[in-house]
Assembly symmetry: C2
DNA sequence: GAGTGGTCTAGACCACGAT
DNA sequence: TCGTGGTCTAGACCACTCT
């Protein structure tokens, strides 16, 4: 059998489509431009709409496209870098952090969070909702879990629930001595509530950043922040170095 | 109109399916168990196979399931935490790091990397491939880009290409004084090469960790590491705190 | 060869945003 | 009301792994 078997591994159509579209995006389209609709594109490439959508989905996952129901598909701007790793460690709610308190309630946290806090599964903790904006767009939604033991003096405060109470809880937190923190990042999909806050559909891919705050030899608070995976690049602090990324003198892209 | 409009927002079928399956996984299945095949599952729930697959895809994205062609769908173990943030900064290839050199070549890096390195777009740099294993499974594939100027004494070494040369390049790197590093994490999809190394299909979701290494007042090396998003949770160093995660005395889950 | 997940088709209807 | 992307269907065939 002298047959050389090139192409014995035929590339899936949607994969090839993705390559072609990527090149087209690089050369023929500019940020914000809207693409032809899915039915036209599918016809142009001679594939079923579902196949085209498989390619578009991946491109959206990679942050190259943005699709909105009722509107169309547009070329996405480059991902924005959002600082996540704290160079100098500080409590959430400290002066100048990027978050805005939205609401506050008392509730039993998810089991995974209760384990981290070393509280009982059904023990209620302060649950603060915050949101983070960049360039006018929401980029992240956070749930902060704070056991009563971390803010003992709060009982004297009778703020109504809502943003005011959220601020009161955060203010109390600052009185604790922060000893350290650690973080983890994993892929998840947006819950219905997070999706609404992030202006995405439920199930949209998100980067879940879990932060443990240590004080008094234990875990004093836990934050679970979900970042839009399509638009965000999480940056972890330049260790002893200045950030030279957005210097207007260089970078002409 | 006094009609209360509950259920005016009908949940998509695949979303409901996902919820049902999640609960079933939590209560009725154990890690490693194989699920019924997709055709049977779809029939059991009274939906088309494509709809069921949409639910399974999300569950796989969330690390709850693992699907392998020709084999079946199994219940995935909890994600493994892999340390990414360096508590003490050190060059790649330093004693005791988690990576294994695979290969080395000279090539022009992607434009984005060339920008970080501040080299010309077509300048060739040493390109070292490494892979990272955990518990016998591949979790990450890395490409390390090192300009000639960062390893000036390498010319005296005539290692053949391959793992031996990769080790030689890394050895030379250690002579430079490391001044700092910064990292970023974003969502991507596996290239054909990465996919093979990670034992996944091309396009599989990955967490892309880009690390810049600073020495001599400039970027001396850039690493682009792709981690399997389905199986990995990236952890960023406990700042001044011991890791108490896998203490066998506690945690009976 | 049997059975699995992966790809693909050609339709249909729905929810949403703009007009 | 119209056009968009989102959901869903009922098939078909392919690539892969196991036996």
């Amino acid at each position: 059998m002298g047959t050389t078997q090139l192409e014995s591994v035929p590339e899936p159509k949607y994969w090839h489509l993705k390559t072609v579209l990527t090149e087209a995006l690089d050369s023929e389209f500019s940020v914000g431009e809207i693409l032809p609709n899915e039915r036209d594109l599918a016809a142009r490439f001679g594939v079923a709409r579902a196949t085209l959508r498989q390619a578009l989905e991946q491109l959206e996952l990679e942050g190259r496209l943005q699709r909105r129901r009722g509107v169309g598909t547009t070329v996405a701007p480059p991902r924005v870098g959002v600082a996540v790793g704290a160079e100098r460690h500080q409590w959430p709610g400290a002066a100048g952090d990027a978050w805005q308190p939205v609401d506050c309630a008392s509730a039993a946290p998810p089991a995974a969070v209760a384990d981290l806090l070393e509280t009982d599964r059904d023990e209620q903790v302060h649950t603060v909702r915050r949101s983070r904006m960049t360039h006018g767009q929401p980029v992240a939604a956070e749930l902060l879990y704070i056991p009563d033991s971390s803010v003992p003096d709060l009982s004297g405060i009778d703020s109504p629930s809502g943003a005011a109470r959220a601020r009161a809880v955060l203010r109390e937190l600052q009185h604790l001595g922060l000893e350290g923190q650690d973080q983890s990042v994993e892929l998840g999909s947006a819950s219905a509530e997070d999706a609404k806050e992030l202006d995405r559909l439920p199930g949209a891919p998100v980067l879940v950043v879990t932060t443990r705050y240590y004080a008094g030899g234990r875990t004093a608070a836990v934050s679970v922040a979900t970042y839009r995976a399509d638009t965000c690049r999480l940056t972890f602090g330049a260790s002893g170095h200045v950030e030279i990324h957005h210097d207007p003198e260089r970078r002409a892209s």
